[in-house]
């Protein structure tokens, strides 16, 4: 059976762009702001392409769920080395549960052996899609991966995870889900010829209705606010002043 890898990618505000809260306080300004592929998804695409180059995987499929601008993100992944792309047309403010449901349907259609995602998107920082997808599909998962080793012969994958206490190594039977952390690899820059070639690849567009998925949002954003400005501290002249100030602020 051919070893296919599915890589979902997301179009987010560029990591270096200045974030401004919208006047209606229900989100951030996205008009005329530079957008690009989520950096963690870039790392996921790079890992999938490396597995293909080491002849472990046979093909890499990049998926993006969002408005038609997400096609640019898919083309970027195709330029990096993915073989095919799928675009699912949806609104820009999809929640992770809706994404996971769509991905579940696509996994059932495409039948990949590995789904490699970025650990979280830098715009909403949910860190939920990989975990929800694993729950919906009932597949094993390894999140925050910093090293992935696939053993094709025994159909297993060994993943080293970055956790609070250090590193944890897990072994899972394929098919499985992996979510990438920052230190997994260094994503490549697409060569000019590959960018030109990627423009010619046909990417089919599907809709959630076609896939039979209910993507109504169960969450409502109540408000989005900027973090409180840091108030400067004050300098004191002697130890007695420090003690007096601490007593004044009822700390001691």
């Amino acid at each position: 059976m051919s070893f296919k890898i599915l890589v979902p990618v997301k179009r987010v505000i560029d990591y270096a762009a200045k974030i401004r809260v919208r006047p209606d306080k229900l989100g951030v300004e996205t008009n005329n702001v530079k957008m690009s592929i989520n950096p963690f998804d870039e790392i996921a695409v790079e890992e999938a392409v490396r597995l293909k180059e080491n002849t472990i995987a046979d093909s890499v499929v990049a998926v993006s769920i969002g408005p038609k601008e997400s096609l640019e993100t898919i083309r970027g992944s195709l330029a990096m080395g993915a073989d095919a792309g799928i675009h699912v047309s949806a609104s820009a403010d999809m929640q992770p549960l809706g994404i996971a449901k769509i991905l579940k349907k696509l996994v059932e259609q495409e039948k990949p052996k590995l789904v490699i995602l970025g650990k979280q998107a830098i715009d909403d920082d949910s860190n939920q899609t990989a975990q929800m997808l694993a729950g919906l599909l009932n597949w094993p998962q390894a999140t925050f991966a910093s090293k992935v080793v696939v053993d094709k012969a025994s159909d297993k994958v060994t993943v080293t995870r970055e956790i609070d206490g250090g590193l944890e190594t897990l072994e899972m039977k394929l098919p499985a889900i992996i979510s990438c952390d920052l230190r997994l690899n260094e994503p490549r820059y697409a060569k000019l010829q590959n960018i030109m070639k990627a423009k010619k690849i046909v990417v089919p567009t599907k809709t959630p209705e076609e896939l039979g998925v209910d993507v109504s949002s169960k969450l409502k954003i109540v408000s989005v606010e900027e973090p409180a400005k840091r108030v400067g501290g004050s300098k004191v002249q002697s130890v007695d002043e420090v003690v007096a100030n601490l007593k004044k602020h009822a700390i001691i």
């Binding site: 990591y15 270096a16 690009s36 950096p39 830098i122 920052l182 260094e186 820059y189 000019l192």
Partner: protein, 105 residues
């Protein structure tokens, strides 16, 4: 396959666009140098210029990768936020051979 001048220039400006430097910064510094060398006919000289562009492309790539990694690491690592990176666009100088940017033409 050897890169032509147009390809080298396209790669440089494309990188300027995706990196934190911005296409304006890169173009303002690259255009005078391309224009100053536009009348070269010797293949060796032209290849030297193309190699110079490739070197600058490598520098911009490295700077961008580093900036991206550091920014993401700081965003998700509380203690690391105290490290002072000094990513100042003004202090990153594209190599200006032959002092082309200061020539009055």
């Amino acid at each position: 396959m050897a890169t032509s001048v147009q390809e080298a220039r396209y790669i440089l400006l494309y990188l300027g666009r995706i990196s934190f430097l911005g296409v304006d910064y890169v173009r303002d510094r690259a255009k005078p140098q391309f224009l100053a060398n536009k009348d070269l006919t010797d293949l060796e000289e032209i290849n030297k210029c193309i190699n110079r562009t490739k070197y600058v492309v490598g520098e911009v790539e490295a700077m961008h990768k580093f900036h991206k990694y550091r920014t993401l690491k700081k965003a998700y690592d509380r203690e690391f936020q105290l490290v002072n990176d000094q990513f100042n666009v003004e202090t990153f100088n594209l190599k200006d051979n032959n002092d082309n940017m200061n020539q009055k033409s």
